[in-house]
């Protein structure tokens, strides 16, 4: 399979490393021999239809901070759209940063790739919260596969679990702790009794929270994931603006203590059910499956047959997320093989 990687930051590099590490495994277990024929970042591209050497690509990206520094085949200024146009490929990975307002550049990349007849795998929430139905429809019309497991839950196979393994159920509701950063902050606040601002700074120093933590702490990242789950699993047609989101900035250590005295933890929980999409801090009974600590994510499905199924694991990190990206690739490979 010929792959094009668009975006070669943390996630792109994580995927590159996983492809190196798993090369033998993929061939032996699935008869799958992925070949990266192009990689693109914001400064340029590296293209080799015979297949780029991934170790070399990773080295170039780490040393010069761009894939354009790839020996001989790297080219500064070459754009993703040019690469999609010119390079023959089977699957395009769209791994650029999320823009929740316009969905771009990811949205344009995905549209173009689908129109060119490429299967698409993305981790990018932007295009999904802006144009889920459009992209889903476009993929169907073009007869291409479209996967986005990495956009929700990182390594936790939330979408696949509901759509595949629980396919015989009607899903009544989805509830989840879907943001590792806020879960880390709330967990630390409850253990240390420290104020929000102090723990946020600590999380930023550790690289768990971003310099601009708005998307995480105001519940917007969770709202994005709820939007995606509502579209993908509940078959709704909704956008980010349809989710009512409240964040955790006003949570105080005293409030956490009052909750603990009554046997609860405070968690930032997102809920998707028909007629109600919301994100906000909630009291979760200690010992409840969603009462996970640290940077963990957890999602509970409320189902007609199975009643309740909860899944938990690591929601972020390049290595963890490569699990979802690779899973999507293998899934497409199997689908095509029939």
């Amino acid at each position: 399979m010929r792959l094009v990687l668009i975006g070669f930051g943390n996630l792109g590099r994580g995927l590159g490393r996983a492809l190196v590490e798993k090369s033998r495994f993929l061939r032996a277990s699935y008869g799958l021999a992925p070949k990266v024929v192009a990689a693109v970042d914001e400064y340029g591209a590296a293209v080799d239809e015979k297949g780029l050497k991934l170790e070399r690509l990773l080295r170039a990206a780490e040393r010069a901070n761009t894939v354009a520094a790839y020996p001989a085949k790297g080219k500064r200024g070459k754009s993703a759209l040019e690469v999609i146009d010119e390079v023959e490929a089977d699957v395009v990975f769209e791994l650029t940063p999320t823009n929740i307002k316009t969905g771009n550049p990811g949205l344009t990349h995905i549209r173009k790739a689908m129109l060119a007849g490429r299967h698409v795998i993305t981790s990018n929430k932007g295009p999904l919260v802006v144009a889920f139905r459009e992209l889903d429809g476009l993929a169907k019309r073009q007869g291409v596969e479209f996967r986005y497991s990495a956009s929700v839950g990182g390594a936790v196979p939330v979408v696949g679990l509901a759509k595949k393994l629980l396919a015989g159920n009607e899903v009544h509701a989805i509830r989840g702790v879907l943001n590792g950063t806020t879960n880390y902050i709330l967990t630390r606040m409850s253990k240390e009794g420290a104020p929000f601002e102090v723990v946020l700074r600590e999380a930023q120093e550790m690289g768990i929270a971003e310099k601009d933590p708005t998307l995480d702490v105001d519940g917007i990242d969770t709202a994005c994931k709820i939007t995606i789950l509502a579209n993908a699993i509940l078959d709704m047609d909704v956008k980010l603006k349809d989710v009512r989101a409240v964040g955790i900035r006003r949570i105080r250590p005293e409030a956490i203590r009052l909750a603990q005295e009554a046997g609860y933890m405070i968690k930032l929980v997102g809920v998707a059910r028909r007629g109600s999409l919301e994100v906000g801090p909630r009291l979760v009974p200690a010992g409840h499956p969603l009462a996970v600590g640290g940077t963990l994510n957890a999602v509970t499905f409320e189902l007609d047959l199975a009643r309740e199924v909860t899944i938990t694991g690591f929601g972020a990190g390049p290595r963890e997320t490569s699990s979802a990206l690779l899973g999507d690739l293998i899934d497409i490979h199997r689908t095509l093989e029939g």
Partner: protein, 167 residues
């Protein structure tokens, strides 16, 4: 919700089993049966009280209907008081936005009362936190109480945190 039916049965064998059957077949989960043979009514009937849980009001109505159609004499149907408890946190300027008024407006709802309130004061100028336990006679009243509190909280710019079960 937790419901209770009081009835009077004729003192002949098999009566108790007969009245319990529709309760379970319509989805009631029987918690307690009190069969008071030594407190017979002047007409020689035996008072029986059954406490059970049903998840919706409709089912309770169906059960009562089934018992009546069997000719059972029902003396009282009730939902058990204070059966539904909800814990809620409030964060904001709780005192300055008249906590008395917040409590009164909830307590004026029928079958609802605040049974516990704990307050943690913030430093001067900072927001405080409060935890309230709202006790309601049934699910519908509990929902009404929570939605009223939500309106009050909105008006007073308080952050209201409900428990997961209520979502």
């Amino acid at each position: 919700m937790r419901a209770q039916i009081e009835m009077e049965l004729e003192d002949v064998p098999g009566q108790l089993v007969k009245v319990l059957e529709p309760i379970s077949s319509f989805g009631g989960n029987i918690l307690n049966v009190l069969h008071e043979r030594d407190r017979k009514t002047p007409l020689g009937r035996v008072p029986v009280r059954v406490v059970f849980e049903v998840d919706e009001r409709v089912k309770l109505n169906r059960i009562v209907g089934a018992l009546r159609s069997m000719g059972v004499r029902i003396t009282r149907v009730g939902e058990k008081e204070g059966a539904v408890r909800s814990t809620v946190l409030l964060i904001g300027h709780i005192i300055h936005t008249d906590i008395r008024d917040t409590i009164d407006r909830l307590n004026e709802l029928r079958g609802v009362r605040i049974s516990d309130l704990s307050l943690a004061m913030g430093a001067i100028g900072q927001e405080s936190a409060a935890r309230a336990t709202i006790t309601a006679d049934d699910e519908a009243r509990a929902r009404a109480a929570l939605s009223r509190l939500e309106k009050i909280a909105k008006g007073k710019s308080l952050l209201m945190i409900t428990s997961l079960e209520g979502m």
